[in-house]
């Protein structure tokens, strides 16, 4: 099979579309930096943690565990695995498109995979994006925003207003709602939306938000698969 395009132009397109996402992730990074500093992490440790894990929810869980003094290596590994299990679904959804870039480029791009740029890239794929460098392009400003936000948050703990005061904790949800609204093309698109919201609300109270996101994705995929059989 011929390799799919992986060009600077596609990377730049992703970069441009990822800039607002990077700004929103910057705000999340501030939040994590504040928490990490309060847990006794200096700037260097906070930033290297952000670079190594690159996932806000998993990092908060890991910092909590490390603070408890009960952190075995297995417990740490398992915690991140559970909190980040949604990425297994995200990677699966990207696979039919991304693998055509070849293994090195694909796995390299997956290092830059986050919630927001996964949504952005899936949307671009649906709109016909062919260039596989798009994903890494969207991920680059996000990683930059995440690391600089972490550094600033850890360095200025106590000086900045809390992110919630500025509404920044709602940023990911706001982007999610906006992207979903922009992606709806047909009435049939409302079915996975309803299934996703319903599953998330049903799962969250007992199993937490990480499992709720996985539940939402699986429910949406399941109803789409069922509808596809009916249409065929």
């Amino acid at each position: 099979m011929a390799a799919a395009p992986f060009t600077l132009a596609g990377f730049r397109r992703g970069l441009r579309d990822g800039l607002p996402l990077g700004l929103s992730i910057f705000a999340y990074g501030l939040g994590f930096g504040l928490v990490a500093a309060q847990a006794g992490f200096g700037i260097a440790r906070a930033v290297t943690t952000s670079a190594a894990i690159y996932s806000g929810s998993a990092q908060l869980a890991a910092v909590n565990l490390l603070q408890s003094g009960q952190a075995t290596l297995w417990a740490l590994f398992a915690t991140i695995l559970v909190v980040n299990a949604r990425y297994i679904l995200f990677g699966a959804a990207l696979q039919p498109w991304l693998w055509q870039a070849g293994p090195l480029r694909a796995y390299g791009s997956l290092l830059l995979l986050g919630d927001a740029n996964w949504m952005q890239t899936m949307r671009a794929i649906r709109a016909g994006e062919e260039d596989r460098a798009y994903l890494a392009g969207t991920g680059t400003p996000m990683l930059a925003g995440w690391l600089s936000g972490t550094a600033l948050g850890a360095g200025t703990v106590g000086l900045l207003p809390r992110p919630e005061v500025m509404g920044l904790d709602l940023m990911l949800a706001a982007f999610a709602a906006a992207m979903a609204a922009a992606m709806v093309r047909a009435r049939a698109d409302l079915v996975p939306i309803a299934a996703g919201a319903g599953a998330a609300l049903a799962v969250a109270p007992s199993l937490g938000p990480g499992a709720a996101i996985i539940g939402a994705g699986l429910a949406g995929g399941a109803v789409a698969a069922l509808m596809h059989r009916n249409a065929a």
Binding site: P96, M166, L170, L172, G215
Partner: protein, 99 residues
């Protein structure tokens, strides 16, 4: 904690990368039928609405009003980025007003 920080960092990085790579790798073994592709294409919409629904569930009226406004603004002005940023400003104002 008995382990040094670089070891902890390595374990955390390995777990995070495992999650990013596992679904992608597993899907290489699964033949992607049209139905599976339809399911994979529907997951982003479901995840997006799930994230928004959770924000309303854990927040409240201010979050619900702001996210409803985001959906309306996206359709109205045709820019999802502008709509999302306006939604963040709106929720900050609503919280400031005590909603």
């Amino acid at each position: 904690m008995s382990h040094d920080f670089p070891t902890l960092l390595l374990v955390m990085a390995a777990a995070a990368f495992f999650c990013r790579a596992a679904g992608f790798t597993l899907m290489r073994l699964v033949p992607v039928s049209a139905r599976i592709e339809a399911a994979l294409r529907a997951t982003p919409l479901a995840v997006m609405s799930g994230i928004a629904a959770l924000a309303v569930q854990s927040g409240g009226l201010a979050e619900g009003v702001a996210l409803a406004a985001v959906v309306g603004l996206t359709v109205l002005i045709g820019s999802d980025v502008a709509a999302a940023l306006l939604g963040v400003v709106l929720v900050a104002l609503l919280r400031w007003a005590g909603l």
